[in-house]
């Protein structure tokens, strides 16, 4: 079922209504801002739980309720 498709005529995948943004333009934003966003998610979701970058428990305690309600394992 997952064979790679032969280059078929683009009959059903019609011309897109909106021109795609080239991946080269997205890449730098995705790399730098994407990683920054993932770091933010790490601090909300996991810091001072399984792993700690900052010592103590203040980060964990501060976002404690959000962590539980957002579905992250807390303690």
């Amino acid at each position: 079922m997952a064979q790679s498709a032969a280059p078929a005529p683009a009959a059903s995948t019609a011309i897109p209504a909106v021109a795609p943004i080239s991946l080269k333009e997205i890449a730098p934003w995705a790399l730098f801002v994407g990683i920054l966003m993932l770091v933010l998610l790490y601090f909300v979701g996991a810091e001072q739980g399984a792993t700690s970058v900052i010592s103590g428990e203040n980060v964990h305690e501060w976002v404690h309720d959000g962590r539980h309600l957002l579905g992250f394992p807390c303690h």
Partner: protein, 254 residues
């Protein structure tokens, strides 16, 4: 599209994520917090679980207000930013969808891949559910499940695109969706289960806590899809908007 689009979409994605985070925060405060408090009351009554000795560094009042807001708003902004980058890639590549419809589909996909699929295997737990000694294992499994789910969702979209010329758009989408469900089912079957529920923990409380966690995510992603879709439509197709939308063209949010 010039490169200003990516930056402009990213900024709008983070703003839409903030707005969606506010919606989720309201639900979390009104629906979720009472259950967190009940669960903490259970914890203190049944198994005096020490948070590290002495007094807690952050009071319950701060945890349930400013702390909760910090967590949820940062989560909203971060996922909004990432979702807007995914939108940049998806726009014009997943079929004949305009900016608004693409935003709605990206939000739906994010809800399913980032939250719903991991939630069905490793659901959100209130305080006192979960053994503190296994936090490392549970954290690793949860993030592994998210990563796997996102990768499988991306693979399903690529598969659907490749099948579309042969099967037609509808059948290709159904086939890719079925492949995703089968792959997720296999992941569920092979990843270890976690069951660390205290014996006498109230079932009703657990159910209501999880429902409120789910409601937050539903509102977060619905809000994000609608708000970001509106911004993206105005940014990318300013002339195609409805007649009532011409009032302002720049700076839609402040």
């Amino acid at each position: 599209m010039n490169s200003i689009s990516v930056r402009a979409l990213l900024v709008r994605g983070m703003l839409a994520g903030l707005a969606a985070g506010v919606l989720a925060l309201v639900v979390a405060y009104l629906l979720g917090e009472p259950h967190v408090d009940s669960a903490i009351a259970f914890e203190e009554a049944h198994s005096p679980h020490d948070h590290g000795g002495g007094e807690d560094p952050v009071s319950r009042t701060m945890q349930s207000t400013a702390g909760l807001a910090t967590g949820i708003l940062v989560y909203g902004v971060a996922l909004g930013g990432i979702a807007s980058l995914v939108f940049c890639v998806a726009l014009g590549r997943i079929g004949r969808f305009g900016p608004r419809a693409t935003a709605a589909l990206v939000s739906l996909g994010a809800l399913v891949a980032v939250y719903l699929v991991p939630f069905l295997k490793y659901p959100a737990n209130p305080p006192s559910v979960g053994d503190p000694d296994t936090i490392g294992k549970r954290t690793a499994l949860y993030f592994l499940m998210i990563a796997l789910s996102v990768l499988l969702a991306v693979a399903a979209v690529i598969l659907g695109k490749r099948l579309a010329p042969r099967l037609g758009n509808w059948n290709a989408t159904v086939a890719a969706g079925a492949a995703f469900v089968v792959a997720v089912g296999l992941a569920y079957a092979f990843l270890p289960s976690v069951n660390e529920l205290p014996d006498d923990f109230p079932a009703g409380l657990l159910w209501k806590f999880r429902l409120s966690a789910l409601a937050m995510q539903l509102l977060l992603w619905t809000g994000f899809g609608l708000v970001f879709g509106h911004f993206a439509e105005r940014l990318l197709a300013p002339r195609a908007g409805a007649p009532g939308e011409k009032a302002r063209t720049a700076a839609p949010a402040s």
